[in-house]
Amino acid sequence: MNCVRKLLLARELSARPGVLRQLAPGLDLLRLQGSSCAQRFWPVPVRSHSKFTPAVKGDQEKDGESRDGSLVPLEELFDRACKGERNKAAFTRAVELFCQRDVRRRGHIEFIYAALQKMPQFGVERELDVYNKILDVFPKEVFVPRNFIQRMFNHYPRQQECGIHVLEQMENYGIMPDNQTKFLLLQIFGAKSHPVRKYQRLMYWFPKFKHVNPYPVPVPLPQEPIDLARISLQRIAADLSAKVTVYQMPLTDILDSGKEITQPHIVGIQSPDQQELLAHHNPDRPVFVEGPFPLWLKKTCVYYYVLRGELLPPGEKGEMLDSERNFYYPMHLDLDLDRGPWDDEEFDVDEAEEGPIFAMCMAGAGDQATLAKWILGLQQNNPILSQTPVVFHLAPGPRELLAASDSEPGEEEIPQSRRAQQEC
């Protein structure tokens, strides 16, 4: 069968030497539009050939013959449309250009594949209306099967695959399609086609997964360092009573002498439980400032520092409830009975003990001077810090708050613990 098809194609090619471009799928479009729904067996090979013409065209490209193939002008199309700026407007302009170029939309499958590839470059991969515009490129009502035989055999499989690829890219980026998408797909492929089935599957699963994250990161992430710090500190602390305080706003000052002073921002968080723990902390023992630790929020990495105390030896912990604590009822029964083994719901949890954490902060710069300012700010509410020695265990990590760019983590270097006693 294949050789027969190639013979016929060769006949076509020889018949029309210079108009090879028209051997694009647009040719079969003409015939389809002209013919009735009944598939004539004679033209079938030709029409099904046309679905193979992309391969043929690919061969042509490989031949190196500079035909007006589809992939090369597509690149140019995108480059021409963007005019240096890669954004949504440029992308939509490119798509419209393609649509206006040819009523029959020849080469639309290649165009759509190329467009799907180019979307990340233009930064529009998460825009639903761009996907709708891409789906709009498909000619409407052409690929809808019109009789039972067409329905039986995978009607226009390449186009259906292309539609499925568009929807798959939407699925990969987690974009929920909307009514417009549904109508487009129905118009283009008809009900019960593969893309429409995929759409139905998308619409079944995506609503179920929408709220599956109990701690979603806010979208879009704020760019302002103070807001970002506030959100990420609240995320780490996970305590609704914790209070976020801004100890220092970012400031860039130019002195009279021309020297520039930049003040990095310092945002700290502490909850009332932590305040109480710190108040009960023994001032003879030191507290440690450690950092920076990374926190990833989608594609942003922020760094935070921690004020920590050491684990107390078990002897110094806790106070027993004395019997005169409650005037109204006995809080402790003086009985010799213990909980029965069937009701004992305590699990044997092997907990890794660690010392109490007293506060956290995020700062624009990770050097000792900035963090010392943080400790000074903490002293307002925790006077015990003025008598406690503070030891700084700082890793030489990134010095600035990085917002949306990747950095090489400095923690790979051996952290040099700079010990410094600080008493104010």
């Binding site: 929920m176 909307d178 619409m203 995506f206 609503p207 179920k208 929408k210 709220h211 609704l240 005169e324 604590r325 409650n326 005037f327 109204y328 009822y329 006995p330 809080m331 402790h332 029964l333 003086d334 009985l335 010799d336 009975l337 213990d338 909980r339 029965g340 069937w342 009701d343």
Partner: protein
Amino acid sequence: MQIPEEYGGLGLSNTMYARLGEIISLDGSIAVTLAAHQAIGLKGILIAGTDEQKEKYLPKLASGEHVAAFCLTEPGSGSDAASIQTRATMSEDGKSFLLNGSKIWISNGGLADIFTVFARTEVVKDGVKTDKITAFIVERAFGGVTSGKPEDKLGIRGSNTCEVHFENTKVPVENVIGEVGGGFKVAMNILNSGRFSMGSASAGMIKKLIEMTAEYACTRKQFNKKLSDFGLIQEKFALMAQKAYVMESMAYLTAGMMDRPGVPDCSVEAAMVKVFSSEGAWICVSEALQILGGLGYMKDYPYERYLRDSRILLIFEGTNEILRMYIALTGMQYAGKILTGKIKEMKKGNISVAMEIFMNKFHDRMGRKVDLGLIGKGGVAHPSLDESSKKLEENVYYFGTTVEGLLRRFGKTIVDEQLVLKRVADVSINLYAMTAAISRASRSMSIGLRNHDHEVLLTNIFCTEAYFKNNYAMAELEKYAAENLDDSIKKVAQQVLEKRAYICSHPLDRTF
């Protein structure tokens, strides 16, 4: 009123005091002012004071020249009374204490001249310095005592409730009630002794309400029928009558018990009376207001004032939640001691105890008949109360086995299982109420008081309802009971409190 006659008081017994309380309670503010003065304000001096203190203060307090107040609550410690921050430091010469601190929500705070103040003092015991609570009698004349302006309250707006501040108030050592560091016992005794009168006070108020509401219900006509002909209204009246009857019975039974010679410890019964009466009063006043409909809501009628005044009953003198814990835990302590005693005996090898326990369990399985002496030939209760008595006996026996089962399951960690203890307390309160009602009805029948058949009806209704509720509560207390929803409740509470909000999505939310 309860001050002995030698100091100028009336020297009333508890029963007479309860009777007077019925009448005073017709106005909430007056009742609260008087209660704050005598039931708690001067009770400390009365119970634990030395003779000199009594000589010095009681006459003026009895005549009403001086008003007393009870100062325990602070901004940071309401029910958690032992965490008070007011300090009393000994002066250098050892003759007086300097009092520093502030108290809030002190009834009669603005009028009072004598305060019973609780403060922390340093006590040296075996060389160890600890902070213990001490009770002091503080006169306003000592100086340094300031009171704030009267608080704007929901109800009992006639009584003066304000903050009291103490600044370096000099209190002579002679004014310590009890001993230094013994404030805990003094406080407990004071608090436990004033509660029973709430039963008769609430009962008096409800009786008055029944009269006023019945007047209205029998005259107002809607749909060409009098309100009193409608079933739902009749149900409300029955409820009010029943609750009033039971409250009275419980209060006077407790007062009678306390009046016996010696100093019987009726604190648990008093707590039960307080819980039942405060909740009963709140429900009954609400229903009475409901009978009047819109008129009950108007300020022109006294019902809304009664409603607001009775709301505080559930809160002061020990919140109902705290008292339920008290009732349950005191009972558990007593039961636990017996149980540990039996276990010890068994472990020692005493076979008779082991056999007894085994036979008891066997009989329980086989469905035993309980006979506690209330019914039958030598029965104490009147035969027309046979059914109610049988229900009471069954409940009591079943309650006993339930408590034993709980102690075996939880042991002393039952202190943390508040939902379990709440049910235990509810059952005990119902049992005590049933006992009081049955004994009073039986007495009425036997001596032929007027309308004793009405009393029998009330008792039977109440006992049937209480029997059902008790059975349900005890079924919930079984192990792996299907009715027990404690785990789900705790889980819901944990999820709501984690987010500190209602976490369900709105019914109109969409995902696509």
